[in-house]
């Protein structure tokens, strides 16, 4: 258990620092001049329409895409240089229906980064796998084939894989897509536990309430519209700039009403 204890020791430096960061594909920037820091044990939500640069930023943070310009430090190192410390949930899962895997096999993959090619899995690894599956309420599905699970159950298994990594930084691309209200609550509780143990969480989300609950929110529309504490930066004006529609928030910030499109077209949608 000592190795695991050392592994989860929380360092004091910032989890993520980005300064003057330009991100994009093949040298063509999608978003320019991004500046932010995420401290240990804090959360950051990225919001924006499809194609606004959320996933591009996440992929840059984990080292799948090179930064075009600027400085990026993840856990004190360059992006992609500390795989043991970073867990990633991608937006799309290519596992599909053909892969012959049980739910527990998927979660077990979360421990591969810590053991390399041939390192032996230990009892501590099995404990982390069981805990992650129990936290996401999929332990009773452990022996089920992945393809036999519903979309929401599969997503919970994928999230359990990320939790089993026991990483210092969790990078999640639309983690609640496909989850029902109950499963979202299970997810949020699991993320609260991760933050409590000192891990940092960066999430791309379309859920305004989820973003408001984070320590920071960044609104993206191929540029940074706003960044700061969720409750401060998520306003009707910033949402208009981000999504191109007027969204009003009620007093408790629990409901959202789309009342008007940017160019004055009435919307029939009211909550």
């Amino acid at each position: 258990m000592n190795n695991i204890s050392e592994e989860i020791m929380v360092k004091t430096e910032l989890a993520v620092t980005a300064m003057g960061l330009d991100i994009g594909y093949q040298g063509e920037p999608v978003v320019q001049n991004i500046n932010f820091t995420v401290e240990k044990g804090q959360s950051l939500a990225l919001m924006g329409v499809n194609g606004s640069g959320k996933s591009t930023l996440l992929k840059t943070l984990i080292g799948l895409l090179p930064a075009i310009k600027g400085e990026l430090r993840i856990e004190g190192k360059g992006a992609g240089q500390s795989p043991r410390q970073i867990a990633y949930l991608s937006q799309f899962h290519t596992s599909g229906f053909i892969l012959p895997l049980r739910a527990i096999d998927v979660v077990r993959m979360g421990r591969f980064a810590n053991h390399g090619l041939l390192g032996k899995m230990t009892g501590a690894d099995e404990d982390l796998i069981e805990l992650a599956m129990k936290n996401m309420r999929v332990w009773d599905l452990a022996d089920k084939s992945l393809s036999s699970l519903s979309g929401g159950q599969q997503q919970r298994v994928h999230i359990a894989q990320v939790l089993a990594r026991h990483a210092n930084l969790l990078i999640l691309d639309e983690p609640t897509s496909g989850l029902d209200a109950g499963a979202r609550e299970i997810y949020q509780e699991a993320i609260r536990n991760e933050l409590c143990r000192g891990a940092s969480v960066i999430t791309a989300t379309h859920d305004i309430q989820e973003a408001m609950d984070c320590d920071q929110a960044m609104l993206l529309a191929r540029k940074v519209i706003a960044i700061g504490p969720g409750k401060d930066v998520i306003t009707a004006q910033s949402l208009l700039e981000t999504f191109g529609i007027v969204i009003t928030l009620n007093q408790q910030n629990l409901g959202i009403a789309v009342v008007e499109r940017e160019h004055g077209h009435d919307s029939p949608c009211h909550d």
Partner: protein
């Protein structure tokens, strides 16, 4: 009993064919599993044909075909990588382009040979009954290399099948392990071409692994099923070929394909029965 065993005991060439076929089944079972799970069927097919010019040059120069096939595979994989890196074309386009180009080049080269028809048929459909001890030894070594590589790279290969991004984020270079996987496919194709030929090796890569995917719930089990189904195809194919005087390589691949469809039918019947039972229980 004699009908099923005697042909192999009384004909050394048939026994050698059986041993070679079993080795091909093991290597194709392992490699075919990754081809099926990662959707690499097209590149597997293209490699089968991409080695043709190399083999053709080897025939003309009188050097072992396996050396020419290896060079052909290197050119094919290098060419695909070059086109996808230097252009915005998808790997499918690069594979298709080189696939037909290399096949045409192979036929053009072989057409210079005096025994064109015999050579091309031998390359495309194999010559399992003419296999010698040296070729069997080479196949055994290649099968061992494929098996050991699959064990060593089990984790990155599993992650690649699951999600290449996860492999990269977990500290395993997805490019490196993808290329290792391609190299394994190339080795399986190269060692199998003498047995079932470049055309039919694709059937041995896909049909047993495809059937295995229908049966297994774990990747290791799928590989074992694929290898066993391959072996059964080799045994029954050789028997049918011996008793009915059919072409041996084609009989083997035909058996593998028939077994695949047999498994598919059985699985669908099982599925239908399960649904029926659930419906009855529900009512």
């Amino acid at each position: 009993m004699n009908l099923f065993v005697d042909p192999f005991l009384s004909n050394i060439f048939l026994l050698r064919a059986l041993i070679a076929g079993i080795l091909v089944s093991i290597s194709c079972g392992i490699v075919g599993t990754f081809i099926v799970l990662r959707g690499l069927a097209f590149i597997g097919d293209a490699l089968g044909h991409g080695v043709l010019p190399g083999i053709a040059v080897a025939i003309l120069l009188g050097i072992p075909g396996i050396i020419g096939a290896s060079l052909g595979a290197v050119v094919m994989i290098g060419g695909i990588s070059l086109i996808t890196r230097k252009s915005r074309l998808s790997s499918d386009t690069a594979i298709g382009l080189l696939f037909v180009g290399m096949l045409a080049l192979g036929v053009v080269i072989v057409s210079r040979s005096n025994t064109f028809t015999g050579d091309i048929v031998r390359v495309l459909f194999g010559e399992i009954l003419g296999i010698d001890n040296q070729a069997i030894l080479l196949q055994a070594v290649a099968t061992l290399v494929i098996g050991v590589t699959a064990v060593i790279c089990a984790r990155p290969f599993l992650l690649l099948c699951f999600n290449p991004e996860q492999a990269q984020v977990s500290g395993f270079s997805s490019t490196l392990y993808h290329n290792i996987m391609l190299a394994m496919i190339a080795v399986a194709v190269i060692i199998s071409f003498q047995t079932v030929g470049t055309m039919l090796v694709f059937g041995m890569l896909l049909a047993p692994a495809g059937a295995g995917a229908l049966i297994a719930r774990r990747i290791e089990v799928m590989m074992i099923w694929a290898a066993l189904i391959g072996m059964l195809s080799v045994y029954t194919g050789l028997l049918v070929s011996y008793h009915f005087n059919f072409a041996a390589g084609s009989s083997i691949v035909l058996m593998a394909t028939l077994i695949f469809f047999g498994v598919l039918v059985v699985k669908n019947i099982q599925l239908f029965r399960n649904r029926l039972t659930e419906k009855v229980n529900h009512e």
